[in-house]
Amino acid sequence: MTILRGSVLVVSALAKSFGGVQAVREASFAVEAGQLVAMIGPNGAGKTTCFNMVNGQLRPDSGSVRIGGVEVVGRAPRQIWRLGVGRTFQITATFASMTVRENVQMALLSYHHRLASWWLRAAHLYREEAHALLARVGMADQAERPCSVLAYGDLKRVELAMALANAPQLLLMDEPTAGMAPAERIELMALTADIVRERRIAALFTEHDMDVVFAHADRIVVLNRGSVIAEGVPDEVRANAQVRQVYLGSRH
């Protein structure tokens, strides 16, 4: 595998064990700017563990994670976010008591270091920026609706807009299409792919829906029992006998 010097995310020899069980062993891969990379594998293969080590929620036992050339192992998720990392979650996490616009404004306020203000009205700050982001993900017409009443697919779009608020160089998406209907999945991933390419963002996502993976990923990393067993463009991965045996089965 070649790791280009210019890769935004470079993971090398990452390892983590829980109570003697090796969840991730010596995993290495890279994601370049403008590229969508899918991480797939059976349940318990170590995808989530891997993911959480990249975003800082878990500390690896050994190995290195470099984002934009900066070593992030040992940094808190908050500090990693400051380096320009946007995240979306498998189960959407938004602020239910606020409107769509306010949700995005929160991310912008944080990005612009304005959270310490006790006097100004938050609703008046970064309105236009919030609207621009919402327009980009197709949510401008729902900006004033409370997040608590949105359809699930729309919440995913709000999350995406929030993840873009800090002008990220890296986007981490945990099962971005989980819980969505097939057509919505394709739509959301097409939107994501467009944004990733136009803004030259490196994107890493985990996914169970192979239709989504094979339709949109530029490269695929396959994990099994904590190890990377295959890595490459979709056709290579699809043709890989080991991948077919442990994960894909006969259908794909």
Binding site: S97, M98, Q105, L109, L115, L120, R121, A123, N166
Partner: protein, 627 residues
């Protein structure tokens, strides 16, 4: 050596008692998710009922050991039956209400039971008989040790063992554990959770009753046992991990032993100072709790609780409509002209209401927008009051400085307490705030030379220009009004929004770079300052203060005000403070049994207005506007 062994045994006896008190609370919380404030009251009832039974039929009646032990078991069963009755009549109706309202309802029960005990057994302490055959002491390593305490050392583990068998070796126990984890799913699998809950509540209550009844030979039945015991039980349950029975046993053991050694060792020299460890016993358990919770936020053997329902449906709205603004101005205008029209007594009452409104508003800021529940909010009120009073009395500063210094003292307290508290969430957070308030209370209560101990401080009068009630009223009106307005303004600032964001989704906050713990810490300091201001005004309005300004009852009053008024409305705490203060004033003047009446009113309000009064009014308003 032998004294160490005796202390160890003393510790075990104490641990047994603590375990019996706490285990029922943990069991009930685990399954029903109800934090039962009335648990201490069940304990107290256990003692009183056992006293009546045993002094009639038991040792006094000549039935001997059978009468004594039988009496204790019957007392436990009576309390268990009462628990079942309360569960069926009251709690069943509020299982779907937010946890805080359940807590409020059980606090109503506390008040009712207290006055029932007062009515049935009178205000005198009642000393029960000794256990027949266990009245003496045995010699252990040359020292006497009470036989009854030795029996207690065995009773605790016996009950633990029986409970373990019940929960792990019976189908009923399996169902209880399943329901503890996911009661809805258990129901969908055909488990009748209604009766499961009733049975668990009855069992938990009976255990509290047993714990109380077993104390008959050791301590007199007293009216204030309920509050002391509930604090102990909360600490044990929280240290052990809520819902974990082995955890309760472990926590009881640790706390029992630490207390025993503190008493046993007594005075120790430390760097030339003499420190009385026995005085530490009052706070030892709270210090243990603070340490445990910081290191293991869900207790020794507990696990993370699901999200609290406190924020369910929460949605702060920006400045209310025109009608609301007019209403606020009208109230402010009415308050401004009060001194010209009202009786002097009304002015005094209004000052109280203003002070409590600010106090409650500060708690509401913490509980509503920030989503942090505090059971010990009186700590800041009391620190503000004592800070101001001490600056006048000991430092000789003018009242105006003291009025500013009081809130500062409270803020300093909040800096310390808040640093620990923001590491926790939910019920654990609430319990830690309670612990800190209790620590502050104990220090003030025991430090006679400085704080005046239980007598408090007297002669804390305002400056001459504020000596008239009217002048002081305007001072309170201005400061409290500005404070409440400022708190409301902050809710809609970026800072306030970030706090709400943290309440809604800590995970998302983390992912957009919000340092939630720091913001929440600042929230503690902020509300501590305002609560301290309320306390300082209170001190000068009364002219004297006592440790009660830091006590659990005042913390509970604040909670009641916020919940009465509605937790997610800015006007809520003001309405709640006005209603509760007026109610207390009126009720106290008209009956000896004011607590019971208040308790009944609280229970009725919870049943009728689960959204709080202001929340209810707002819904009505919204509905009539929509129609």
């Amino acid at each position: 050596m032998s004294s160490l062994v005796i202390q160890f045994l003393n510790g075990l006896a104490g641990a047994s008692t603590l375990f019996l008190v706490a285990v029922g609370l943990s069991l009930i919380f685990g399954v029903t998710r109800i934090v039962n404030f009335a648990h201490g009251s069940f304990y107290m009832l256990g003692i009183y009922v056992a006293y009546s039974i045993i002094s009639r039929a038991g040792a006094g009646g000549g039935l001997g050991p059978a009468g004594f032990w039988g009496g204790i078991l019957v007392a436990a069963m009576v309390v268990g039956a009462l628990g079942a009755l309360i569960e069926i009549l009251l709690l069943r109706r509020i299982y779907h209400a937010p946890e805080m309202f359940q807590l409020l309802a059980t606090f109503g029960i506390v008040l009712v039971i207290k006055d029932y005990v007062l009515w049935a057994w009178g205000p005198e302490d009642l000393l029960g008989p000794r256990a027949p055959g266990l009245g003496g002491s045995v010699e252990i390593l040359g020292r006497p040790f009470p036989e009854y305490d030795l029996a207690l050392v065995f009773i605790g583990p016996l009950v633990l063992g029986l409970l373990w068998l019940l929960l792990n070796r019976t189908r009923w126990g399996t169902l209880v554990r399943a329901a503890t984890q996911d009661r809805e799913m258990a129901g969908a699998l055909g488990v009748n959770q209604k009766w499961l809950f009733t049975a668990v509540f009855a069992l938990g209550s009976a255990l509290a009753g047993l714990g109380g009844a077993l104390q008959i030979p050791r301590e007199p039945a007293q009216l204030f046992l309920d509050m002391g015991v509930i604090a102990d039980a909360f600490v044990v349950v929280v240290v052990g991990g809520m819902g974990s029975i082995p955890g309760a046993a472990l926590a009881a053991f640790i706390i029992g032993e630490i207390k025993a050694y503190c008493v046993g060792i007594g005075q120790v020299g430390f760097l030339g100072y003499s420190v009385s460890l026995s005085k530490l016993t009052l706070v030892a358990e709270f210090i243990v709790m603070a340490i445990v919770l910081v290191m293991r936020p869900w207790g020794l053997l507990g696990r993370q609780q699901g999200a609290q329902r406190i924020a369910a449906g929460a949605r702060e709205r920006p400045a209310a409509g025109r009608a609301m603004q007019i209403a606020v101005l009208a109230v402010a205008g009415a308050l401004a002209v009060m001194p010209f029209v009202a009786q002097p007594y009304t002015i005094v009452l209004l000052i109280d209401i203003l002070v409590y409104a600010l106090f409650a508003a500060s708690l509401q800021f913490l509980m509503g927008p920030a989503g942090l529940v505090s059971f010990g909010h009186a700590a800041y009120f009391g620190l503000g009051a004592y800070g101001a009073a001490l600056l006048v009395k000991k430092a000789g500063l003018p009242m105006e400085f003291a009025l500013a210094g009081g809130p500062l003292a409270a803020a300093l307290g909040a800096v310390v307490f808040g640093w620990f508290c923001v590491r926790l969430s939910g019920v654990y957070l609430a319990m830690l705030t309670l612990a800190f308030a209790q620590i502050a209370w104990s220090i003030v209560y025991q430090w006679d030379q400085f704080t005046g101990g239980s007598n408090g401080l007297v002669g804390v009068w305002p400056a001459p220009w504020l000596a008239s009630k009217t002048a002081f009223y305007y001072l309170a009106f201005t400061l409290c009004g500005c404070g409440i307005w400022l708190l409301r303004r902050i809710v809609y600032s970026p800072y306030g929004c970030a706090l709400r964001a943290g309440r809604d989704s800590p995970l998302r906050c983390d992912a957009i770079g919000i340092d939630l713990a720091r913001l929440q810490w600042a929230a503690f300091v902020l509300v501590g300052t305002f609560a301290g201001l309320a306390g300082a005004i209170y001190a000068f309005s009364k002219g004297s203060i006592s440790p009660e300004t830091l006590g659990i009852p005042l913390s509970v009053d604040a909670l009641v005000m916020v919940l009465l008024g509605g937790i997610h409305t800015a006007s809520g705490p003001v309405v709640g403070a006005a209603v509760l203060t007026w109610l207390q004033d009126t009720v106290v003047r008209n009956t000896d049994y004011w607590r019971a009446l208040l308790g009944a009113i609280i229970i009725a309000l919870v049943l009728v207005f689960p959204q709080g009064i202001a929340g209810f009014a707002r819904r009505r308003w919204a509905r009539s506007e929509a129609a």
